[in-house]
Subunit: 269 residues, 2 copies
């Protein structure tokens, strides 16, 4: 691993839950030498990727990121096109919805919309999505490039008792996703969280991203599952269209028998 990637990995220590960190905290989280971590932070500060709180000496993400993100979004305007469908998805299902995009062999969060209904809800606060342990990851392995399967097998970290940690278990999850058109996870990344994910395709016809709904497992009823799948399919179609792509016929076939569940149970009630 190059020193550059090591330095840049420090950035993923920061999250909305932990926006400011001291040198020692960062060193501890990253599991690296203090002097090295310090120099890396200096490098990152020199280019505006982190900045220091002058009072506490803590580090936080820097302003250069905002400009770069703006340039990225201006050249590949994905966030803007996903916002509407994602908000509709969160509203319709009552649970947290999010979109994750694939770049090379990694799944990055693009946008999240917290559950508008529940105080106890899934929160998406990750720098990258593990391929084997999240519904989005399974969905990416199932519908994305072949190489993702090996990539997923290379890091079968066990997050919970339900995490698939063998090739066989992962193969089974992927097969189920290909059979249903949805990635699914039940407590595979965090206990008590269940999620469903649908693939999104871009203008090149390639798999580009996933849209997913994550909720508290105890709230999941057959009715809600049907609702989520129906809404996910709609969100996937909308975002795919907005990004200039179209869904493969194979996917549309899998989803063709989805129907809006009857209103026997309103998730907002």
């Amino acid at each position: 691993m190059s020193s550059t990637t090591k330095a840049l990995e420090l950035l993923s220590c920061f999250s909305e839950a932990r926006p400011e960190l001291g040198l020692s905290e960062i060193r501890r989280i990253a599991g690296r030498d203090k002097a090295t971590t310090y120099r890396h932070l200096q490098d990152l500060e020199a280019v505006g990727f982190v900045e220091q709180n002058q009072v506490t000496k803590n580090y936080r993400l820097g302003p250069a990121l905002l400009h770069l993100a703006q340039v990225r979004e201006a050249s590949v305007p994905r966030k803007a096109g996903a916002e509407g469908p994602l908000a509709a998805l969160a509203k319709a299902t009552g649970e947290t919805a999010h979109v994750a995009v694939l770049s090379d062999k990694t799944l990055y969060p693009l946008l999240a919309r917290d559950s508008p209904t529940y105080a106890i809800r899934a929160i998406i606060d990750l720098a990258t999505f593990p391929l084997h342990a999240t519904s989005s990851g399974i969905c990416a392995v199932a519908f994305g490039p072949e190489a993702l399967f090996e990539q997923a097998c290379a890091a079968l970290e066990k997050y919970t008792e339900a995490t698939p940690v063998t090739r066989a278990a992962l193969t089974e999850e992927v097969a189920r996703a290909r059979a249903t058109g949805f990635g699914h996870g039940l407590g595979t990344f965090e206990a008590d969280i269940t999620s469903f994910a649908a693939p999104i395709f871009d203008q090149t016809g390639q798999f580009a991203a996933t849209v997913a709904v994550a909720g508290v497992a105890s709230r999941l009823t057959p009715h809600l599952e049907a609702l989520i799948k129906f809404e996910l399919a709609g969100a996937s179609r909308a975002i795919t269209r907005s990004w200039g792509g179209s869904l493969p016929a194979a996917i549309e076939d899998l989803w063709s028998d989805l129907t809006p569940p009857s209103e026997i149970q309103d998730p907002t009630s």
Copy 2:
């Protein structure tokens, strides 16, 4: 210079005007060896800071930036607070308005709002602002930390005939800013572009950013200058308040005699 900063500097090759670049173009812009540039780009791709167009093999900024920018904005919500006043500023003056934030010794663009009135207008498409050649830079040197003066003197690049390239010339510009409360540049960065900048202060009482208006020099009348200064002062007060800061009394004194110019000439007409 560390290899990390060298790699990260490649990111500033990208702009809204040049969102996708080939390896050779990047190498040429950055003035570096091809093999080194290639490896740096590999490193950046590994962490999602750039990604490759699979068809053209060109590079563009990657999706990881979006997530990091979101975390940054969530922890230091500056963009959101500056948006309203900036839009109002652009509307009132008819020219392009922007905000640049200081981190350490560098001025980074935060937000820009193109002229809503003119087809021929200033476009802010920079990765960082030169301290000596822009109104925002002069403003930062005048009202920011002492060290910025030396920082500015260390890179007196000559962009146009009007760029101040000596300590004496820079000192004079800074003195003028301190006397008026505004940084000013007339063709110092780009010929035919004139701009005014006002300082913004954050909750710690420190200079934090500048808000500026940039327009085509030939349109600048005494009336428009008075209008810009009046509106800039208002925008600076609004953003400073939104960031939890307050303007030093010395600045308010300098600005106390600004009055809204009479409507003898509507810039939108």
